[in-house]
């Protein structure tokens, strides 16, 4: 437990491979880093290294899917989302093929590799594509569940996983993942914190601090950003009147934007977006980068105070 979501992805893929012979894996010379290497070892005949050629990898995955396979194509998020965007759009989403794209090392927590490698825009870009489902698991327990759910879901999916290990939020024995519904982890009437990915854990820490100060926060894990659980968002807006979104991604077009889009049309309430500002990243240790962009409980608490005027 407390392992990176990429580790959980790798382990779950092996689990899936044993259950379903149609599951295949492709990687672009990063199997060791994305953790698809476990599948490569367990099922070498169903693993395809495509070399450092992400465009070819994504369209090849589309061809495999057209013939009934369930391909998981993995690489760093920047290379799948940005370099192979045309292939994701035209080979996968346009024909609605059953391809699972796994982008690892997403966000500033990618760390030392720096600005070229930290995908800040991946959620925004992927959710703008018709037919694409976008999932950002909160921890290792949910990452495993999301990988298993991905194989059951028929259609294109982008699964965002992280390089950096983060605290486990869910109990592996009791957690039941529901792809199309956000998860209310704690309940309160004063405000709602909507988070995704490793920010869910930090949102819970912030909620604890706020509780000590007599402010009761609802925390929603919005693991699936597209299609987003609009009913749940409206319900939270009605109940708490204040929304804070927290994501380890650009505030341009990501979770915060998706929440604002829903609420602006259904039940407008004040929203504050916490995320990476509209900038490229830089080198630094992963957890250090989270603090550098103020993706931490202290900042969430501060924003809550500003919003509530107390």
């Amino acid at each position: 437990m407390n392992s990176a979501t990429r580790e959980a992805f790798g382990a779950a893929l092996v689990e899936l491979g044993a259950m379903n012979p149609d599951v295949v894996s492709l990687d672009a010379d990063l199997a060791g880093a994305t953790k698809s290497a476990g599948f490569k070892k367990a099922f070498p005949e169903r693993f395809f290294d495509m070399g450092i050629a992400e465009a070819d990898m994504v369209s090849t995955a589309a061809g495999l899917a057209s013939a009934g396979k369930i391909p998981f194509a993995s690489s760093f998020s920047v290379f799948i989302v940005d370099r192979a965007l045309d292939q994701v759009r035209n080979s996968v989403c346009y024909p609605r093929l059953n391809v699972k794209l796994v982008g690892s090392h997403a966000g500033p927590s990618c760390g030392e590799d720096g600005g070229t490698h930290q995908a800040m825009e991946d959620i925004a870009v992927m959710r703008s594509l018709p037919e694409m489902c976008v999932v950002v698991p909160a921890d290792d327990v949910e990452a495993r569940a999301a990988v298993l759910a991905a194989a059951e879901y028929d259609g294109p999916m982008y699964l965002r996983v992280a390089r950096l290990a983060s605290p486990t939020v869910y109990n592996a024995d009791s957690y039941s993942f529901d792809l199309l519904h956000g998860d209310i982890i704690c309940d309160g009437d004063d405000l709602t914190i909507v988070a995704c990915g490793m920010m869910v854990g930090r949102a819970l820490e912030a909620a604890d601090l706020l509780a000590d100060q007599g402010i009761r926060a609802t925390v929603v894990n919005m693991h699936t950003i597209k299609p987003i659980d609009a009913e749940l968002l409206e319900e939270c807006a009605r109940k708490t009147g204040h929304i804070i979104t927290v994501e380890e991604a650009s505030v341009v077009g990501g979770l915060g934007s998706a929440v604002c889009e829903v609420l602006a049309e259904r039940y407008p309430v004040p929203v504050r977006r916490i995320g990476v500002p509209d900038v490229f990243g830089r080198s630094g240790e992963g957890s250090q980068m989270l603090d550098y962009y103020r993706l931490n409980k202290e900042h969430i608490v501060e924003v809550a105070h500003e919003m509530l005027g107390r």
Binding site: T60, G63, S91
Partner: protein, 271 residues
Amino acid sequence: MQYDLQAITKQMRIDIVESVNAAGCGHPGGSLSAVDVIATLYFKHMNIDPANPRWADRDRFVLSKGHAAPALYAALAERGYFPREDLITLRKLDSYLQGHPNMNDTPGVDMSTGSLGQGLSAANGMALAGRLDGKDYYVYVLLGDGESQEGQVWEAAMSAAHYKLDHVIAFLDLNGLQIDGSNDEVMSLGDIAAKWRAFGWEVIELPDGNDCNEISVAITRAKATVGKPTMIICHTVKGKGVSFMENAVEWHGQAPKGELAERALADVHAL
């Protein structure tokens, strides 16, 4: 069943001119150059069932140069996938014949294409799936010459050789022209046969890539090739069959209008 390929290719050229005329736009030049490869595949070599377009064991065809959709649609209609009368709905709102092929709109289309450079990768994926499933189907893919300027084509060329995909058989529609001019004016392909050989492919070069007999012999040879993919380089005539379109770059991406539309139709009827 034996088809008369001369009659088929003539009818396909009529279909192409009629549908592009009706659409008032489209890509007649590269559709007409590709007719003979597509006809030879659909009417002589491919193991397919028009009544069951998604039959799992079928041979597949990927039109990587998706703008030649009118040629593919003509073949599918003549082969019985859908009514020939529908061809004139090409590119119209509510039609299932999109400007570039979409597998979910049109029965018989095996892969959506249109953004150049992606088809060979998809074909490789289909062949890998076939191998995993112990199936013996072939995957045919048609690339354009201008399309060969896309880097992904060469990524896929490397992959097909790496995975020894001898059930991938590719064709290059080498008519020498692309939208903005000749290949040599826009971006020279150089010794294209040598390039494919260097990537580990078996290469067959057809001096007359509009000759169905030559194409058929090459396909038979390609199917007998073991352990590597085959590229059949077809030297074709862009606009083949319409006198004023032949080897004329301006008919890459526009439909003839008025009197020229009539002349185009008369030309293909006279074939």
